[in-house]
Amino acid sequence: MRSEPIHKISRKGLTVWRLYGVLQTIILLIIAALVCYGTYYFEWPSFIYFIAVVVVILSAILSAYIFPKVRWERWRYEVRESEIEVQHGLFVVKRTLIPMVRVQHVDTTQGPILKKYGLGNISISTAATVHTIPALVMEEADGLRARISELARVAEDDV
């Protein structure tokens, strides 16, 4: 068994994901409300009420509570001398290994919600793939970006 990568992402990341989940639920709630209104107005079959309510409740439980939790627990990353390893996934655990030699450039991005919490995403691009580590504390993300680009610069390019 290979050991898991050591670093977890910030606890604040979990809060942000919960927030995303809540926002998603609110959007669903609005849609559900519209559908319910339509059902009332056009006298569609009444089981639609039931479906709408269940969908909203499920979304609230899953996307605001359970999924962020599992995802946060699962998310690991590690930046070593010659490679980067990330692990993530909800149902399927995905682990990816990216050698430093292959890294072409590193970006950090920050949306409004992430900014409020002082977090940022970091994207590592190779010639063929892009790998994102989400919701890192901004200073950490910047430091990591600097470190990766420094380590990546050492290696010569083959492609």
Partner: protein
């Protein structure tokens, strides 16, 4: 170094105009269809102004297209200077592009019907940077002699260090470049017969039909179809089969024309592919740009021992439109192909001894299908009651395919080389060099974890997006071996 300025052949004006006009046909069709043929050139008609307006716009566009072709030809010049190919074009905005000859990865020749009448070629110059799916420079039409001059100039610059190489020699060398592969007429026919182009043609047909939906009275047809169905399913089936045969025949002809006289030659670290009956194409592929090689055997071809060899190349679209995957050997006997590949790439082990997926992993190959199978079968059985039950046959079918996929799934590590073998429908054998792999990933579900089974993905660069090889459900130990092999 010659500094005389070269122009494109006048025919190139015609060709670029024609190309621009061709792209104007579709808008015209749309205009006509969306207006439902309510056109009139009668001044007193209600539709006159609208007709005039729409056709006016289209006409202006068409004239611009024509003019742009002529302008392009008039303004486009190229010349050689300081070991560079220099191009200048543009009417209002002058654009210049200088390409050092050492940077040129490939010169691709393309002879359309127009070109062939006048003995011209279209030359596409590609560098490693031609990433945005376009060649760096495209010379729409020049004389063959002029094309040879470019090649000669390039050769001369590249071989500056060893001056003894005279023009004469390089000329003869090109002629003598050894042929590695030539597709025989028999193979060409088999390729055309088994080509998967049917799907393309069918979707094309579907697109046309949906475009015409305003004109064709579908409801009427459907009513008639209902009667039709009453007469007998037989006739419907017959119609479907007939249209399939037509589609297949069209794709047969297209393949035949495209791959006629398909030849691969090697020339100083480059592969040169020539092909085509009406439109002759010549594609150059530098060996060091090749990222990985896949041998694809679709079930039908596998049955007869045939395979397709696909080359994943970084940059350089090889004139194959948007596709960066170049079929090196579109159709070849599996045994022959291994020998030939050994000749081109002697460092690669082409006959690896595979390590297969463990027996206990077998259920994972078909179990996941049930997620979407069960609802489909349920719905089919419910809504089309008696015949819908036939959908139950999907279960044994998907299990059989799963077993087949399990039998295929395998990998092998030989020194610096990773070979993956897997199947969706076609069997794919993916040969990769360690230094060409961009990233390796593993995936494992909760159920896979319980059985110590893991899937492995490896991505190499191929054009813009990369190509991923994916072997599902290997022994966890094996998957981890691959990852640590990659790590060190």
């Amino acid at each position: 170094m010659s500094k005389e300025v070269n122009r494109l052949h006048p025919v190139s004006a015609v060709i670029s105009s024609a190309k621009a006009l061709k792209s104007m046909i579709f808008p015209l069709v749309v205009i006509i269809i969306t207006n439902g043929f309510h056109f009139s050139f009668n001044f007193h008609s209600d539709n006159f102004w609208r007709t005039a307006f729409l056709f006016g716009i289209w006409g202006v566009g068409a004239i611009l297209a024509l003019v742009s072709g002529i302008v392009k030809w008039r303004t486009f010049v190229y010349w050689f200077e300081d070991g560079e190919l220099r191009v200048k074009y543009g009417l209002f905005v002058k654009k210049k592009r200088y390409i050092p000859f050492e940077r040129i990865q490939s010169l691709n020749y393309n002879e359309g019907i127009f070109h062939r009448i006048f003995g011209l070629v279209k030359v596409q110059v590609e560098t490693a940077g031609s990433k945005d799916r376009k060649p760096e420079v495209e010379l729409t039409a020049i004389r063959k002699a002029a094309a040879d001059a470019i090649e000669l100039e390039m050769r001369r610059t590249k071989n500056k260090t060893n001056e003894q190489m005279s023009d004469e020699q390089s000329q003869t060398e090109e002629v003598l470049a050894p042929t590695i592969y030539h597709m025989s007429i028999r193979d060409l026919l088999i390729l055309a017969i088994t080509s998967g182009g049917i799907g393309v043609v069918l979707s094309g047909l579907a697109a046309i039909i949906s475009q015409l939906s305003d004109i064709i009275p579908y409801e009427k047809i459907f009513d008639e179809l209902a009667d039709f169905a009453k007469i007998g399913v037989f006739i419907v089936v017959l119609t479907v089969i007939f249209s399939l045969i037509v589609a297949w025949f069209v794709s047969f002809i297209i393949t035949l024309i495209n791959y006629y006289e398909y030849t691969v030659r090697t020339e100083d670290e480059k592969l040169i592919i020539t092909k085509g009956l009406l439109e002759k194409k010549r594609v150059t592929l530098p060996l060091n740009r090749i990222q990985a090689i896949r041998i694809v055997e679709n079930p039908l071809r596998q049955l007869f021992g045939f395979a397709t060899v696909v080359v994943e190349s970084a940059g350089g679209n090889g004139g194959e439109g948007n596709d960066k995957k170049i079929a090196l050997f579109p159709l070849i006997k599996k045994q022959d192909c291994l020998g030939t590949l050994e000749q081109i790439f002697p460092d690669v082990n082409w006959r690896p001894e595979f390590i297969h997926s463990p027996n206990r992993a077998r259920p994972f190959f078909y179990r996941i299908d049930f997620i979407w199978l069960v609802p489909i079968i349920g719905a089919c059985s419910y809504y089309f009651y008696p015949y819908g039950l036939l959908s139950l046959l999907l279960i044994p079918l998907s299990i059989l395919i799963g077993i087949w996929q399990h039998k295929t799934a395998a990998y092998r590590i030989d020194g610096k080389q990773l070979t993956m073998q897997y199947r969706v429908f076609s069997r794919i054998t993916f040969f990769m060099e360690k230094k060409r792999i961009q990233s390796i990933g593993t995936t494992q579900t909760y159920f896979q974890k319980r059985k110590n089974v893991m899937s492995v993905k490896a991505t190499v660069m191929s054009g813009m997006t990369g190509m991923t090889g994916n072997v599902r459900n290997l022994e966890q130990q094996d998957a981890e071996t691959i990852v640590s092999w990659y790590e060190h």
